[in-house]
């Protein structure tokens, strides 16, 4: 990372924090919180897709599964909100260990198909078992008070808690990406055999990235469950996995801010097209096609200065392990 990138990232980060702090005074907080949950979800996916080059089409399992866990422990077991968030995140991590362990046994497109199939299994389990409430999902999840003090039924309180969770996740991903671990991850993405020949255990690095990504997706899902007081089958459906891939793709795979921009874009689109039924799905599909054909770098990826020839080749094929 050169000095210019770093200063730009710092500017971006300051801008992000400032916008996040001021936004609820201008925009409806529930909408913002939805955008933040999805932004964290997309950042989690981007850690895997953008930096490890692994396309998971099953992240809805972590997101939606964690939402169910949080909902269950808070409604049925009456756990406090911090314990609920923790439970959902831990669930995401554990499920990530299982799914990641299975999926990294295959590479490229098979990896994607394995994640999709495993997530579909979670969908059917959520549909069938009693604890998840079947078609109704879990409704009326209490928001409670954070550490017993901060009343989360106040929407501004809730907003800043959600924003803090998002920022924590964002900074965590930043630290991971710019750590030696993150560099090895990028090396594996670019050229796995060479990374292995240099003595790195590619499988273990990929697995750790998968688990971290799953845990963060779980945190995003848990937060979403508290914001909307609802965990439903929509959260574990394959179209949710597709939506988060689209957010990352639109914003720019392998860029730090891309998934945030992409999430805001897709959530706004969802909001605008909500009255038009299935047209949202159609428009989403069209954007997928347009991004893949014309706009592979995404919004943030295209904003980068084109003066770094060494990196442009990697930005063209961020997922080059297939």
């Amino acid at each position: 990372m050169n000095v210019m990138t770093w200063s730009r990232q710092r500017t971006g980060f300051v801008l992000l924090v400032a916008l996040g702090l001021l936004a609820p005074f201008v925009i409806y907080p529930i909408f913002l919180m939805k955008a933040l949950c999805f932004a964290l979800f997309a950042c989690a996916l981007n850690l895997l897709l953008g930096y490890a080059g692994l396309l998971s089409f099953g992240h809805a399992a972590f997101f939606g599964g964690a939402a169910y866990v949080t909902g269950y422990v808070m409604t049925v077991l009456s756990w406090p909100v911090e314990a609920g968030l923790l439970a959902g995140t831990v669930f995401g991590l554990l499920l990530g260990v299982v799914f990641g362990g299975l999926a990294i046994r295959r590479q490229g497109l098979y990896f994607t198909m394995v994640t999709l199939a495993l997530a579909q299994m979670v969908f059917f389990l959520c549909l069938q078992i009693k604890a998840t409430g079947g078609e109704d999902g879990l409704q009326g999840i209490p928001r409670g008070a954070l550490f017993g003090v901060l009343d989360l039924n106040q929407s501004l309180n809730l907003y800043y808690v959600v924003f803090a969770i998002f920022l924590a996740g964002f900074v965590f991903i930043y630290r991971v990406v710019h750590s030696p671990f993150g560099n090895v991850l990028k090396a594996i993405r670019e050229n796995e055999p060479r990374a292995i020949s240099l003595g790195y255990n590619a499988e273990r690095h990929k697995l750790v990235a998968f688990i971290l990504s799953a845990g963060l997706a779980g945190l995003a899902g848990s937060t979403k469950a508290i914001v909307f007081q609802l965990a439903s089958l929509t959260d574990v459906h394959w179209s949710m996995s597709g939506e988060v891939v689209l957010m990352t793709l639109v914003g720019g795979m392998g860029t730090l801010f891309g998934p945030v921009v992409g999430a805001v874009f897709v959530v706004s689109l969802d909001h605008l097209l909500a009255p038009f039924g299935s047209w949202f799905t159609v428009v989403m599909g069209v954007i997928f096609v347009a991004c893949v054909l014309l706009f592979k770098k995404g919004i943030v990826g295209s904003l980068r200065w084109p003066s770094k020839p060494a990196r442009t080749s990697s930005a063209d094929t961020p997922a080059a392990t297939a």
Binding site: Y110, T112, A117, V282
Partner: protein, 295 residues
């Protein structure tokens, strides 16, 4: 025979038959995916939507044009294949230089467009499609009552698999296809029009999915979401069997269909997830799949 388990013989044979039918659908769809993957290096996420379109062509032909089932069997593969050729020449072709992942994302986007469009036009409640007159009724076999239409589907799917196998393994065109899968540049050097071959292959794969949709239409409801849900199961089948072998696709598809059918008899709650569990077990024991060389 299984009465002591509380299961009637009729129920058992019935579920085996359904398993066989589902299995044949898995087999044909994974066969189509394998053919397309071999030459185009793309996992065709639109496959499910193409299967659904086949069913809708049959339903539309009956409702708007008054054309029956047998016409639909001819019409659906032609229409769906033509749409497939259009997709390949206008969109997919631009991606052959890019990473494989983009092909998957593009076909996923197309699946969303098609599925969303059909949902907007026809709703999600589903449409009934009648069994053709010639195949209504059932035959008493002594040990079970065999619905004629289901017998026909098993027969037709088996024929379809066989014809595809012969086409690929025993004809000149099939030899080109196999050669193109191995090394497209070398094949091109021999004067074969590889881009045309690629287009036809994608069209053929799509047509196969469309034809399967017609076969399925009288059994399941004709529904915009029928394709993608099935496709995800087929992906699990593909992970188990690998995309490298035609026979492998057929055996795995039918085998897993039977496993699913038997699960419905002995442990109905598990039938929705049994194929995914089977996939997980295979990944643990044989990471490269039952027939795969690994990739």
């Amino acid at each position: 025979m299984f009465e002591w388990l509380g299961i009637s013989a009729q129920g058992l044979y019935g579920q085996i038959l359904i398993g066989l039918i589902n299995g044949s659908f898995y087999a044909i769809l994974s066969l189509g995916l394998a053919i397309i993957f071999g030459l185009l290096n793309i996992v065709n996420f639109t496959h499910g939507a193409q299967y659904m379109m086949g069913a809708f062509v049959a339903w539309g032909a009956a409702n708007y044009l008054g054309l029956g089932y047998w016409w639909a069997l001819l019409l659906a593969p032609l229409v769906v294949g033509a749409v497939g050729i259009l997709i390949e020449t206008t969109l997919l072709r631009r991606l052959y230089q890019s990473d494989h992942v983009y092909g998957l994302l593009l076909t996923f986007g197309l699946a969303l467009v098609i599925e969303g469009g059909f949902r907007q036009a026809f709703g999600i409640s589903g449409e009934r499609y009648e069994i053709p007159e010639e195949l209504q009724g059932a035959t008493h076999l002594g040990f079970m009552v065999l619905p004629n239409y289901r017998a026909w589907v098993v027969l037709a799917s088996a024929t379809l698999c066989l014809v595809t196998w012969v086409l690929i393994e025993r004809t000149r065109l099939g030899a080109y296809l196999r050669a193109g899968t191995e090394n497209p540049n070398l094949l091109r050097a021999f004067g074969v029009n590889v881009p045309l071959l690629v287009t036809l292959t994608y069209g053929f794969g799509a047509a196969l999915a469309g034809l399967t949709g017609v076969l399925a239409a009288p059994i399941f409801q004709v529904n915009p979401t029928m394709g993608t849900n099935l496709l995800i199961v087929v992906f699990a089948v593909v992970v188990v069997g690998g995309l490298g072998s035609i026979i492998g696709s057929i055996i795995t598809g039918i085998g897993l269909g039977l496993v699913e059918g038997l699960t419905k008899v002995f442990y109905p709650e598990g039938s929705a997830v049994v194929i995914f569990v089977a996939m997980a077990v295979v990944l643990l024991l044989r990471p490269n799949g039952l027939f795969g060389k690994g990739k």
